[in-house]
Structures are given as C-alpha cells and as structure tokens.
C-alpha cells in the first residue's frame, strides 16, 4: 500500500514509527497543500453525526510532487473502497486515478473513524472527500491565478495541470503549484463539485488499484508483517464458552528448547520463533476446565429466543390490525427460523504487535482500527496515545472483524515478553471466537382480500433487528414489531458472541417477508411478480423488479409452476434490489442447484460500476451459503464446527449464472453496495424451490434434509 512512501521501505516497520499531529503533518510529508475537513459537517446520517467529532480532522494532501494523498480511517477488505474513494478524489481534482494514493486505517496518520461497516464508506465518507477535493482544486486555482495573473474563472484544470482556457501549452502542474507551499485550509463550506455530466473518472469501470499487489503475493496482510525476532504465540483455549480454567500444567512446555511460556491470569500461551513449535508446546499443556451444563443447542435455540425476548419495539405502524383481519378473505400465519452463521473470512483474525519503549505498535486484520486502539489501551492499561494501530490489507471481514481480541492478545503478549509477537488464529479459533450472525425467529400474520390485495401485515421479528424489517409494499394495516436487537442481546440470550454479518438482520427479515409474500401470491393464484407489482407503489422498487424481470425474461405463471423460478426484493443501505433465481431440486437427495440469478440494483450514483457489479456477484455467491448450508452446530457454549469439513461455504460448483443490472440514477446520492444484493438470497432460493417442487421452506439454511422433510409435508 501507499504508506510505504511515507514510512520509507517498511519491511522493518519497527523502525518507522511516526507520530503525527496536524502541525507536524506538513513538515513530515514534506509540505504541499493540506485540506482539513470535518466529517460531521457533511453527515446526513443522524447516527453517524453523533459518532463523529465535528472538528476538522480528515486530510487530503497535495504533496510537493503533485501527488494526492487521502488519509482515511476506513480500511480495504475486498469491498474496493481503496479504488472508489481514490476515484472520487481524482474526479474532483482532475487528475489521473494513479496519482491518488489512499492511506488507510492507520491511527496515527489518519483521522478518527468509527469503523468500516454497513456499506457506509462510499455513502458517508464519499461526500466530504469529494468536497475536500473540490476545495483543493479551488486552492490550486487561486495559486495559479496569482502566478499567471489570470482570473480563476478563465483557468482550466486538466490532468494534474492548470492553464488558461485555450492555451494548454502554457500550463502549470500541480507539482509546480504545490512546490514550496505549506498551506493548510479548512473546508468550511462545500466547494463547487462537478455534476454527473462532467464526470470522467466517477462512473467509469475501473480496475482495482490494489490488484497488482494482490496477484503477485506482494500485498501484505497482518500475518505477513515481520519484526526481527518475532515470536508466534499459541494460546490455550477453553473447550466451551463460559468454561472455567481449574488448573493447568505447563511444565513440559517450559522445558522445550526455545519456547517461552506466558501465564498471566487466564492467559496461558506458548511462544516460539516457529509457529509450529509454539503449537507443539501448547499441545503439551495439560489443562482442566469446568464446563457448565447447558441445554440450549442448535435445535431448541428458537424456543429459547422466543422465551427470553423482552418487550418489543414498534418499527412501523399504520392502520389497524383488527380492520385488516376483517378485510382479509384469507389469512396466513407462519414462523420463520434462521440459524447462527459464521463470517469465516479466508484470512482468520491476525495481529502482529511490538511493545517497545512504553509504546505498542499493532498491525491488525481489523474493520475497526480506532476501536481496537482503545481496547488495546484498556487491556494494557496504557494511555491511548501509546497505542498505534496499523491496518494492512484485510483478507475479508463481512462484519466479523469489528471485534479483535487477537490484537489485544498480541499486544499483551508483546508487553509481557518484551518481544514482538504475532497471534494468528487457527480456523478452529476463528469458528470459536467469531461474533456470529444471531439466530432469529420471525412470526408473520398476514391477509389478502379477494382482489389479491394485501390488507394485513402483522410482523414480529425476534433477534434479527429492524434492518430489512420495513418494506415497500402498500399495505393499509401494517405493524412491524422488533424484539431484541439484531446484533447481540441481553446476557443469556445467545450462547456466544454475536454481531453484524454482511447486511445484518436483513437476510433474516427479507427471507421471512418475501417467503410470506410468495406464499400469499401462490394461494391467491397470482403470478408472484404480478402480485408484488400490484401491491407496491414505490417507484424505485417497481423499477428494479421490472428491470430484473426483463433481464430474466420472466413469463407469468402461478407458483408452483414446476419451472423453479423465484423472486425476492428489498431495500438495504439505501439501495433497492430485486433478484430472480432459477433452481433445480433433486427430490430424492434434497440437493438444490441454483442455476441462474438475475439481480437488479438501484444504488443511486455509481462511482465504480465494475466494482459495484463485483460486489453484487460476491453477495449472490456468498449468499448461497446462508441459504443452503451454513449454520453453526453447538450445545451450550461448545461449538462443534471447527473447520470447513462440517461448515460448508460456497464453492465453484455451486455457482449459478449471474447477471447483474445497475439502474442509472446518476443524480441520486451514492448508496451502499457491499451488502444489498445478499439480502434476497434466502428468499429468492426458497421461492424458487417452492416453484420447482411445491415445498415451502420456513428455515434457513435449506439443507437437503430440510428440503426432503418439506417435500413430505
């Protein structure tokens, strides 16, 4: 990544600790033009506005070499923001994409940030970045105007140069303009930004700027960071959550050559220059744990959740359910279940830390560098300015790398041993300490009149939260009640940690709602697409539904038609998304092959269409997992899944033909793109299975056993 330029050759990162504050910033970066901007000013999201400091703290720098650096606390984990953010800066500054470098997730170089999640990066960080870039261009124009003695209105910015209109031969480069400058500007008002018609970089399909590093093996992840004398740590883990350590005998490990044994409170670890030796040493530790007797497991968890749920909160309320029931000629009641799923990025949680001279530097695979800075400071009892978190490339996160106990462990062990330490979780640790997407229950009572209009919608969601619970159907009597959060829950709710998983909650909510809608369409004898169009007024949703149907070549038929076609639609992160799938069901084995998925998305202004399509494809492919196989098997605090033998994630042979459609909406603000297309995957496959076979699935994942059972029902 680009910070190498600032740190110099940083193969030995220990030698390149920088402490930057604003005043020193220009000195260290060698001068130029620095734009400070406040994210608070630009936030349109209420929640974010509260979270972000409102002073000027985000940096855009035009260096004396004319290169643009953008400093952001966001991180790159595959979602492509390293490219799309650079595109925005390049656009406003009229420079080629490769003259913008992104410096990301470094707690000393970058301004504070609340973490990379929720498809917010482009939506939230994008507008101020564009404004700051436009501001920088204004400053450059002022400088050029003074030097050339030409009023700014008559100047043109192009390709990193400024010249008088009609005289491109006599241009000043940004490098010439920034040379010798030490200008700091605060962005107080929004500078004039380009409009869609002027775009040259935004909206143009672009190849990822990090692709070359990633195909050559040069891209560094947290486990690839090396310090001289680095020790690899293997930590003693309990056999179950809530197990109490009674005794441990580490004497055999202590006798092994080169092994360092750490025992501090509950932290018992073996460290060695070779990770395999550290593991061998750990194997010799004899530990006794007391495991509490607990009865909750992956089968009875749903009853448990209904039992522990507290008072619900109304999310939407319209009309009266009583009236709805009276108007309905048919009522439908159903219960939908969804299991715990793991994030399972291919890169497990990893951190490499060096404690030195009272200060700790930690490279972590994290979605939340500033969050872990605080938690490390707490764990080590250090003032937070003594903690420097750096984020190299992150090998997938999907919400799972918001919590980072591995970084605390590495920092603690480095402090205790006085040596640099790497903690890289094994796959089993990754499955054990994941913050799983919560299991959830949805209860729906709905009704239609004899025209096939939905007149009643009483929707109760338990532990999937409100995201995706609201809908765009036009239903006169509508109530949505949310019980418990979609992230965690009071103590005693979930048997282990839970958290956000790519489009948290929405996967459960959309599965339940769109299955119910489909069920009603079938019973009403109406084609499922027509049924949706008929019950909806929202133009953007109608738009994506029609676009998906066109692309798919939808021909109306009442389900189950035997064709194996299913539909689902929803809104996530401000983005409208409709999907249509075709499946084949093997009735003997219960095996489902998803043959084709068409997905249409309206996400407002699209910064990088190719990037957006890739995210959609990724969502569709990943979503097959929670739809078909992924669920955590457990009893009490014991997790039975330790590797991919029992927990199957999507593979090449599962791959449907994928077609994506992006609706042109250049003048609406850019919306999130990393998650929306995943929300339909449960329902679109469930509805297609119903259409193929007449079997209605009420529980995710739709494993062969569940499909066979549904076929018999």
């Amino acid at each position: 990544m680009t910070r190498e330029d600032l740190y110099g050759e940083s193969d030995n990162p220990a030698e390149s600790t920088l402490k930057l504050d604003r005043r020193e910033f220009l000195k260290l970066t060698g001068g130029g033009i620095l734009i400070l901007f406040s994210l608070g000013e630009f936030s349109t999201l209420e929640a974010q506005r509260r979270e972000y400091p409102t002073d000027f703290n985000a940096y855009l720098l035009i260096g004396e070499d004319g290169r643009i650096s953008c400093f952001t606390g966001k991180i790159e984990m595959g979602q492509g923001v390293i490219t799309s953010l650079a595109q925005m800066a390049a656009e406003e500054l009229c420079v080629p994409l490769d003259s913008v470098k992104m410096v990301m997730g470094d707690t000393e170089l970058c301004p504070w940030d609340g973490g990379t999640h929720g498809s917010l990066t482009t939506r939230f960080f994008g507008p101020p970045l564009r404004a700051a870039s436009a501001k920088a261009r204004e400053v450059l124009l002022e400088l050029a105007s003074a030097q050339m003695k030409v009023p700014p209105e008559q100047l043109v910015t192009e390709n990193g140069k400024i010249f008088e209109r009609g005289k491109p031969g006599k241009a000043l480069t940004y490098a010439q303009l920034a040379k010798g400058q030490k200008i700091t500007r605060e962005l107080e008002r929004e500078a004039v930004q380009k409009v869609a018609a002027e775009f040259k970089v935004i909206g143009v399909p672009t190849i990822r700027t990090d692709a070359r590093e990633k195909v050559t093996g040069q891209a560094r992840f947290a486990g690839d960071i090396r310090y001289p004398g680095l020790l690899y740590a293997k930590i003693l883990r309990p056999p179950a959550h809530r197990a109490q350590l009674k005794s441990a005998d580490t004497s055999a490990a202590e006798k092994m050559a080169g092994v360092t044994v750490v025992r501090q409170d509950d932290l018992i670890a073996c460290l060695h220059l070779d990770p395999e030796m550290a593991e061998k040493a750990l194997q010799t530790v004899r530990a006794d744990f007391e495991i509490p007797q607990e009865t909750v497991d992956d089968k009875n968890i749903f009853d448990h959740l209904l039992k522990v749920a507290q008072e619900g909160n109304p999310a939407d309320e319209k009309g009266s359910l009583e009236t709805g029931e009276k108007q309905a000629s048919r009522l439908f009641e159903a219960k939908y279940l969804n299991s715990y799923v793991a994030h399972s990025p291919i890169e497990p949680h990893t951190a490499t830390a060096e404690f030195k001279d009272g200060k700790v530097e930690v490279w972590a695979s994290t979605q939340s560098p500033f969050g872990i800075k605080e938690s490390i400071a707490n764990a080590l009892n250090l003032p937070s300015e003594k903690v420097h978190v750096r984020t190299p490339f992150v090998g997938g996160g999907f919400g799972g790398k918001s919590r980072n106990t591995q970084a605390e462990e590495a920092a603690r062990l480095s402090m205790i041993t006085g040596k640099p330490v790497q903690v890289a979780w094994t796959r089993a640790e990754e499955f054990f300490y994941d913050t799983f997407r919560p299991a959830a229950v949805v209860l729906i009572k709905s009704g239609i009149d004899d025209q096939g209009r939905i007149v009643l919608w009483d929707y109760k969601v338990y532990f999937a939260g409100s995201r995706g619970a609201s809908h765009t159907y036009d239903i006169p009597n509508n109530r949505i009640t949310v019980f418990g959060s979609g992230w965690g829950g009071a103590a005693g709710t979930h048997p282990f940690a839970t958290g956000a998983w790519r489009a948290p909650g929405a996967n459960t909510n959309v599965f339940s709602r769109e299955s119910q809608i489909d069920m009603m369409a079938a019973k009403a004898g109406i084609d499922p697409l027509e049924f949706r169009l008929k019950n909806m007024k929202d133009d953007r949703m109608l738009g994506v539904l029609r676009a998906a149907a066109d692309k798919f070549g939808w021909k109306p038929a009442v389900s189950p038609s035997g064709r194996g076609f299913g539909i689902s639609c929803g809104v996530d992160s401000g983005t409208y998304v409709a999907s249509i799938a075709e499946v084949a069901v093997d009735k003997n084995s219960g095996h489902v092959q998803v043959k084709r998925v068409v997905c249409a998305q309206d996400m407002g202004l699209v910064i990088n269409p190719e990037g957006a399509k890739i995210q959609m494809e990724g969502c569709i492919t990943m979503g097959l997992g929670y739809a078909l196989t992924e669920e955590i098997h457990f009893k009490g605090g014991k997790i039975f899944d330790a590797n991919y033998d029992s927990y199957a994630i999507p593979r090449f042979s599962w791959l449907p033909e994928i077609e994506t459609v992006l609706i042109e909406a250049k003048n609406s603000p850019a919306q999130g793109g990393g998650e929306p297309a995943i929300i339909n995957m449960g329902a679109v496959v469930a509805n297609a299975i119903f259409d193929a076979s007449g079997a209605r699935l009420y529980q995710l994942p739709m494993t062969p056993d569940r499909i066979k059972a549904a076929l018999k029902a």
Partner: protein
C-alpha cells in the same frame, strides 16, 4: 530432527536447515520469508496455501518440508518472471478476479496447474479444477472468466 533440505524454490536452489516434519507452508512463510502463500484452514480444505510441487498443485499446509527434497516448488512469488506478470496474473487483474485478495495466490497457482494439465479447459473443467479452492468474497465468477480468458488467448495464438 533438524536437517538441511535442498530443493528448488522459484527456480533457485535453497537449503534451509529445519525439522523435516515442519510443513512447507510455515517454512516458506517464516524461514524463507515468502509470505505470499497463505494460511486459511491448516487442514487441507481451503486451498489458500496452494503451491506447485513439480508442476502439480499441492497444499503446502499438508506437506512436510522433507517431502519436497530434490523437487521443484513454485510459489506466487515465482509466478511472474523478470517483473513480467504471468498471463494468469494479468487476466486476474483484467477480469477483476479478486476482492480481498487473500485467496488469490492459492487460486492463481491452482489455475496455473490446471492450465498445465489442460491447456484449453471447458467451464466444467475449470470448476472442477478450482473446486477445492475457497473464496469467501465470492469472486468465483470473475476467476472463471479470467482462466477462460487466458485459455482463449492461447488458442488465438
């Protein structure tokens, strides 16, 4: 037991002195300083650690270093020659066949060994050849296109 194990790594002879039972994966990543080969599962499921041994895709997390004695190992660092990208690497870039990039080195080597075996693979053969390499980001569609792209270019020549 420590011993010196001589083998060819990316065209050059290396001879680390290590316990022969250690895995190739970790000897590469620690002793030999080549971190492009990744750990994903450690048990042979995910393919993140794929390297080529005598041109055949192998899971370096399952391979004892002593078993590569006298053989030829190719890792991601050796795939491009003299700064020039291998056609598969270029195709992965052109087709955007990666997201987080963590599975990419293993994926490229699995694809490389596939093309050595079957220069013009069908879509089905690509799927079969890469089936045991996992990608959580869901880059599969583009990876298949990238491999097809390389095969098509070869045919055109």
């Amino acid at each position: 037991m420590e011993k010196t194990i001589k083998f060819k790594l990316n065209g050059k002879t290396v001879s680390p002195t290590v316990d022969g039972a250690r895995t190739l994966l970790w000897v590469l990543r620690t002793e030999l300083g080549l971190t492009g080969t990744k750990y994903g599962c450690g048990e042979g499921y995910c393919g993140a650690c794929t390297v080529l041994v005598d041109n055949e895709a192998s899971r370096s997390c399952q391979l004892a270093i002593q078993d590569v004695e006298g053989r030829e190992v190719l890792t991601i660092e050796g795939l491009s020659a003299n700064g020039k990208l291998h056609p598969l690497q270029q195709a992965f870039i052109d087709h955007d066949a990666l997201q987080c990039g963590y599975c990419t080195p293993g994926m490229l080597l699995a694809a490389h060994s596939l093309l050595l075996r079957i220069p013009q693979p069908s879509r089905q053969e690509i799927i079969a050849g890469l089936e045991d390499n996992f990608c959580r980001c869901g880059a599969h569609t583009r990876i298949i296109q990238a491999v097809q792209g390389v095969a098509a270019k070869r045919e055109a020549k």
